[in-house]
Assembly symmetry: C2
Homo-oligomer: 343 residues x 2
Amino acid sequence: MSTIRVGVNGFGTIGRRVALAVTLQKDMRLVGVVKRTPDYAALYAASKGIPLYTPTSREAEEFEKRGIKVAGTLRELLSRVDVIVDATPEGQGAKNKPLYREAGVRQIYQGGEKPDVADASFSTLCNYEESKGRGSLRVVSCNTTGLLRLICTLNREFGVESVRAVLVRRGADPKEVKKGPIDSIVLNPPSLPSHHAVDVKTVLPWLDIKTAAVAVPTTFMHMHHVTLRLAKAVEKRDVLEILASAPRIMLVSSGDTGIKSTSQLVDAARLSRMGYDIPELVVFEESVAVDGNEVMLFQAVHQESIVVPENIDAIRAVTSSPLTLEETLKATDGSLGLRKTLW
Amino acid sequence: MSTIRVGVNGFGTIGRRVALAVTLQKDMRLVGVVKRTPDYAALYAASKGIPLYTPTSREAEEFEKRGIKVAGTLRELLSRVDVIVDATPEGQGAKNKPLYREAGVRQIYQGGEKPDVADASFSTLCNYEESKGRGSLRVVSCNTTGLLRLICTLNREFGVESVRAVLVRRGADPKEVKKGPIDSIVLNPPSLPSHHAVDVKTVLPWLDIKTAAVAVPTTFMHMHHVTLRLAKAVEKRDVLEILASAPRIMLVSSGDTGIKSTSQLVDAARLSRMGYDIPELVVFEESVAVDGNEVMLFQAVHQESIVVPENIDAIRAVTSSPLTLEETLKATDGSLGLRKTLW
């Protein structure tokens, strides 16, 4: 198996996590990351020996002033990789695309880009095999990734006919000190449906799905309330059994652990996890309610880390990796330490 | 029409608003309010000439130390009224009930009490006429009142077959400085359904309704996302027309006003309303989405004031007031200044 040479453009919330995840894959090599400003994240990358590239040669001077060695420009990085993971700010990926195409590299984009930026939208549990050989893939956003993990898991087993979901979104990431809201519940957006339903349909175009979202004054994890109508009536124990054994989903019992909020989940993760990342989709066990073919539940989505495993799988898919779905799940989740329990 | 003599036990968030609302009714007289401690609310009541009673004669001394005149004990108040509105803390109403019965007064309880505290649960738009002549009524909680105003309005016009609602609750009232959460989304409760569905069924036992709720770090207004299945397919304009003309519901257009959150609603209310009270149920116009017989929308509920009009109507119902539903709506809403627009 040849090693996949990977570059990551952007070293922010997603980029830095994807870059570090790439270094943990046996079948990949991180050739370098692209950074625009020599901030603390750049200092960290340099201290870890990760080759740093700048968008153009203009930015290099500022890095060198701070004693950070620059390995070259984005264009140079592109000449040394098989795949570029674009983790630049929303909308910037589309602007970068011509450069990537010119260099003849495969491309991974994030969910902030419009769907037409890539050949297809991607979510491992839904369409890993079908995505092989695509020239470019767009890993859907954190909320959509969370929804799709649940939907595709239940769809495989029972068939899913319709989904109605209400998303209570964290207002800002911990580092986003200028973003709100404080003391407000914000319709996000004020007209229904929210874009999440549209985004789910980029992967599952046949699905009857409607979503609505609000933003609230918290900094970690979105909370979804999801109502699914299955193709057949089921028992609660059937649903719990599937969720308990499914990859990338963690069932947490409020009764057993006392955890019934995003902040308690995070506090538990701080006991055993780097930077409280929770890339698993967390389903609250006692919230699962089943009535005939209607299933309702609460799930929590860690906005900063949930898409990282899917980015790794997407890198394999665009390079037509010989790894099957089962093998990529095992390789990715094993290396990143995804678990079925909190610790 | 004889004047209804009203006492209010408790002068907290609800009690003080109901007491002041009683003073504005032509067919009622506020005989007095019961207060346990001589705090700023007691000083305010005294300054307005509202007769203050204490639970027993033991508490009177503390009031008089602060120069607040006490008119008597709860027992004495009960001998002077036709109706007592119990607005004491959750669960205290049931403990007070024997005293009220002994005094032979009609009783109004709040939604924090269990349903069996009263002869029936009450919501004006759903069961005002049927409630006449009951010896005691329980005005359902703020969230339930909001849900019932919407459901009974749409049910009268189209028939409502089922309701699914997700409630994003404010964590604490402005004055509750010891309550959380801060920076957390809390399942409230962690197992489905939340008690709100059960509470709606105390008024509409035939309804297929399921609710789920989370608490978030805000202090004013709950936000509900409601999905209703009607008995027939409708057009969006039909729904908007009914909501635009229904009592106690205010349609707010995010497009016309720029208001798309609880805090902006409150800020608009501060321009024209006492203490930013919004006793109307606020439905966000652009959030109304209709697909066949499925209606979805966002609505905001001001937790401190929404039940006040219903308490006034409940006083009329337990005393078999000659006022019809239409008349009590007109009398209550006119006196309290409920509007179909923000100002």
